[in-house]
């Protein structure tokens, strides 16, 4: 839809491609700052981009 590679997105938000990959796989929760940067990049809100799932202890 946005015609964007992981590499491009990573460069634009200032992280490594591995971090974008980890977020996509759900292995890493981004910081609030990074979440805002990503949401701003796609022109959506954080809630549109991420779903909050409470982790059971």
């Amino acid at each position: 839809m946005h015609d964007l590679t992981q590499e491009d997105l990573a460069r634009e938000v200032g992280v490594t491609r591995q971090t974008i990959l980890a977020i996509e796989k759900g292995k890493y929760d981004p910081s609030l700052e990074l979440a805002f940067k990503m949401a701003r990049r796609f022109g959506v809100t954080i809630e549109d981009l991420f779903i909050f799932g409470e982790q059971t202890p």
């Binding site: 990573a10 460069r11 200032g14 992280v15 490594t16 971090t19 980890a22 890493y28 981004p30 990074l34």
Partner: protein
């Protein structure tokens, strides 16, 4: 500087350090080796600042933090238990298995290093408590 160039430079520094190490051993020059390590680390650090690509980010910092903490915990326990065993032998003044009295005395130094490590750790805890605002009075 490209990331590839940076890693290439790191490799060259490592090879140079290894070469200086063997030279230092042969010529018994410990100060040259110590200086070479400091210069090598500084060179690597300066080179890293010149890299345009993103090498480290918040995820790599998190990984480093967790790995460092676990290393500290594991090594702290291992070194402390080893040192304590050595101190017991040392105070007893007996030969115990492969340990001689003189070797066991080294454990006092090791114990001191472990305590120093704990003190540095606690100081950093205080430092970061202040930095991230956990200390001080609550605002009403």
């Amino acid at each position: 500087m490209k990331q590839y160039t940076y890693f290439l430079l790191l490799g060259i520094i490592a090879i140079l350090e290894a070469g200086i190490f063997f030279w230092s051993v042969e010529h018994l020059e410990p100060l040259i080796m110590t200086g070479a390590v400091i210069i090598g680390v500084l060179t690597a650090w300066i080179s890293r600042q010149m890299v345009d690509d993103v090498i480290t980010d918040e995820r790599s910092h998190l990984i480093t933090e967790k790995a460092s903490l676990r290393t500290l915990q594991v090594m702290g326990i291992v070194l402390f238990s080893y040192a304590l065993g050595g101190v017991v032998i040392s105070i007893g003044g007996e030969v115990f298995g492969p340990f001689s009295y003189q070797i066991a005395r080294f454990s006092f130094l090791l114990m001191f290093i472990v305590f120093l490590m704990i003190i540095v750790y606690v100081l950093f805890i205080f430092w970061y408590e202040r930095k991230f605002g956990a200390g001080g009075e609550d605002e009403e």
